[in-house]
């Protein structure tokens, strides 16, 4: 694997390899080991043009746990504000000879834009409304952990599908692994052509509850809503599309609930849900670190070295 841009280019086998490696990493971390030498001498730049605590911290820790040199650059500190283009910024950073640039950017296809201009490998940490492949890999790991086999599993993604890179990456990857994907939310947040994504739109929570083995709730991006006028009020969203105690009871007994975080408590999800045994939200965070360590190691071609350390 040279880059990780889109789940379109990740095969089923690659997914399984990354997830298996991530499980091994997680085991060792749980045993208290937090330092590996696999990426010693490697340089990773986290280039974030959008605010993000969770994903950036996760990538930063992943690099540091692997002993790579990690440089964090956020948009406010970079020269982008001085009118430098993305390509110029990245070209300049490439002169530092990083092995990997982890990029988050507000524009769809930002990774594709820079690839022809640099030598480093690119990991897409979210490009606009396009994709967020490391999130899909950690979500897949979390589902695998609870269900083992994804074949025929019904996954429902609820929320703003149109503007969600998490939804797009998950749909592509989980379908590759044999899951059936459904989407749910206000019609204004459903794509005009759901068939393009190979998903079915559900129209009521009753349907969701009946079908879902896995329910992924997306974060409602409050900043997006006011501008686009896609629903009248948060109260109305919570009433019709949020998950609460009563709805929780309607779900299948063994259904699991996921959320990419950070959550808006009381809107798409409330306290009862977060603390319910069905919720695997905190596992997702833990898996996120392990998956990102596995991704960075795989891209640097140091998988065997890391396995030696893990098996030691």
């Amino acid at each position: 694997m040279e880059h990780l841009i889109s789940c379109e280019n990740v095969t089923k086998e690659e997914t399984e390899e990354i997830i298996n490696l991530a499980f091994k990493i997680r085991e060792t971390i749980r045993e208290g080991k937090k330092k590996f030498k696999a990426l010693r001498g490697k340089c990773i730049i986290n280039l974030f043009f959008e605010a993000s605590t969770r994903t950036r911290t996760s990538f930063e820790k992943a690099g540091k746990f692997l002993s790579a040199d990690v440089i964090n650059i956020s948009a406010s500190a970079s020269s982008v504000k001085k009118g430098e283009t993305l390509i110029d910024t990245v070209k300049n950073l490439d002169m530092m000879h990083p092995d990997i640039i982890v990029l988050r950017h507000a524009c769809e296809g930002a990774c594709n834009t820079i690839i022809p201009h640099i030598d480093a490998s690119i990991v897409n940490a979210g490009d606009g409304c396009h994709e967020h492949p490391s999130q899909a890999l950690l979500d897949t790991m979390t589902i695998v952990e609870n269900r083992e086999n994804l074949e025929g599993l019904n996954v429902v993604i609820a929320g703003d599908i149109v503007h969600s890179r998490v939804a797009r990456s998950n749909i592509i990857l989980l379908k590759k692994l044999g899951a059936n994907i459904f989407i749910f939310g206000p019609s204004t947040m459903m794509p005009r052509y759901p068939e393009a994504l190979g998903v079915k739109v559900l129209s009521s929570f009753e349907e969701v509850a009946k079908i879902a083995d896995v329910l992924i709730l997306l974060r409602i991006q409050l900043e997006r809503l006011n501008a686009k006028k896609v629903f009248p009020s948060l109260r109305e969203y919570a009433t019709f599309f949020g998950l609460n105690k009563n709805r929780l009871k309607m779900l299948k007994k063994d259904a699991i609930i996921m959320h990419p975080g950070p959550v808006n408590r009381g809107i798409e999800i409330n306290n009862d849900v977060i603390t319910s045994p069905k919720s695997v939200i905190f596992n997702q965070v833990e898996n996120g670190l392990a998956v990102r360590m596995a991704i960075l190691t795989t891209i640097c071609g140091k998988k065997n070295k890391l396995l030696e350390e893990l098996n030691a």
Binding site: T85, L86, I87, H105, A106, C107, E108, G109, A110, N112, T113, G128, C129, H130, E131, H163, R165, R168, P191, R192, Y193, P194, E195, A196, L197
Partner: protein
């Protein structure tokens, strides 16, 4: 006396229903004779065009020459050089320059500069509204006096329908057409590509074809109301073509154009996030491309125009959503149009009509678009069979923003004559 005899070409002149091997004699800037076997004694300068096709010079009524104000993208000279290399001897240039061509001073500047450059006819298009703002009617009369051949707010869209009604009514008295970029921008706002399957996959904000359809209906309704002649620019959506077809049947004075990229490429070309596939209106679906071809075959689309829109490399070398809309069109006009003939959509003669005679009629120019003796000698000679790879070096435009760069094309311009003078020679 300056004269030029071109021998042996297949002459195609739809204005006279001519399609046969003939010789053509030019004296000074005029065509004087179009006959079989004109004796060589009649001219001192002879060109052998055996095996080539000779037609009236192409007329491109939708271009952006960026001069004044955006000369790093294009200027009148580089634009002219690029046009004549594409066999185009007349271009209409849109008003979205800086300053905007919404007054006679800017119009005169363009005409003056075109005269100095003196490579092809440049007919300025004036703004319909002051500053392209859609608030007040521009001084159209003054600009007509200075030499504009049409008005257009292309680049923007007037939102106020009452103002549009007044503007259409006003333009009528000057006998020039209104070139409409028909779009409901309140519906397409934020859109970067066609709203369809691909935009769903890429997460890119879509421009629904309905935005074009609503814009087209609105403009046609106002044309019907005012009885003005409107010409709808760059039609790209099947639905919009249906609306135009119906309006034509009802007798509304509406004509329209389709660009080569809209009858050649689909939204699938956007897949790689290549900013040279970003334009307005956007590339649509295969179904729309088929509809465009059918409209050309059925004469619903009167002409082909390029919407030549140069942007520098720096401007296009950015993220897809941050890139400006538009691609250059002069270098690919002929080869892409010839594919229509190859596919049997059109006869060669019909194609030539849509590239020369018909556009001349739309802008009311009787001195171009025909090879009748007495006409100004604007002539294009091309080899429909020659294949070539389009390289940056071949493009005289300041900008090279075309998705056809480094691709193999078929149909090459060999010689361009304007006002009796050879301005481009690739024989």
């Amino acid at each position: 006396m300056n004269n030029l005899l071109i021998r042996g070409a297949l002459v195609i002149d739809p204005s006279q229903n001519i399609e046969k091997r003939m010789d053509i004699l030019i004296e000074n800037d005029k065509i004087v004779k179009l006959e079989k076997n004109i004796p060589s004694a009649e001219s001192t300068f002879i060109i052998d065009a055996e095996g080539l096709v000779l037609t009236p010079g192409f007329i491109d009524i939708h271009t952006h020459l960026r001069d004044p104000g955006y000369e790093w993208k294009e200027d009148i000279e580089s634009g002219s050089l690029c046009a004549i290399a594409g066999g185009i001897t007349s271009v209409c240039c849109m008003a979205n320059t800086d300053p905007i061509n919404d007054n006679a001073t800017v119009t005169r500047y363009i005409i003056e500069k075109a005269k100095q450059v003196n490579l092809c006819d440049i007919f300025p298009v004036g703004a319909l509204t002051k500053g392209l703002k859609g608030e007040e009617i521009a001084e159209i009369g003054q600009m007509v006096k200075a030499g504009i051949v049409a008005v257009s707010d292309d680049g923007e869209v007037p939102r106020d329908s009452k103002l549009l009604r007044n503007a259409f009514d006003y333009v009528k008295s000057f006998g020039i057409p209104i070139l409409c970029h028909s779009e409901d921008k309140t519906l397409s706002t934020g859109g970067q590509m066609n709203e369809g399957y691909l935009s769903t996959l890429l997460g890119i904000s879509g421009i629904p074809p309905e935005a074009e359809e609503i814009g087209t209906i609105r403009d046609i309704m106002i044309a019907k109301l005012t009885n003005a002649h409107i010409h709808i620019c760059h039609v790209s959506a099947e639905g919009a073509l249906k609306i135009i077809e119906k309006a034509k049947k009802e007798g509304v004075k509406v004509t329209c154009e389709i660009t080569p990229h809209h009858f050649t490429l689909t939204e699938n070309n956007v897949k790689t996030f290549d900013t040279n596939t970003k334009m307005s209106p956007p590339l649509r679906t295969a179904k729309d491309v088929e509809a465009c071809k059918e409209a050309i075959a059925k004469d619903i689309a009167d002409i082909i125009a390029t919407d030549h829109a140069p942007h520098s490399k720096d401007e296009k070398m950015v993220e897809f959503s941050n890139a400006p809309y538009g691609i250059i069109g002069f270098p690919t006009l002929l080869p892409l149009s010839l594919t229509l003939v190859e596919e049997g959509i059109l006869t060669l003669s019909k194609l030539v009509e849509k590239l020369s005679f018909k556009p001349a009629q739309i802008i009311n120019r009787k001195d171009i678009g025909s090879l009748k003796p007495g006409q100004r000698a604007n002539i294009t000679i091309f080899d429909p069979e020659e294949e070539f790879i389009l390289t940056e070096e071949m493009i005289s435009s300041r900008s090279k923003n075309t998705p056809f760069l480094n691709q193999k094309l078929k149909g090459r311009v060999k010689l361009t004559v304007r006002n009796g003078r050879i301005v481009y020679n690739n024989l």
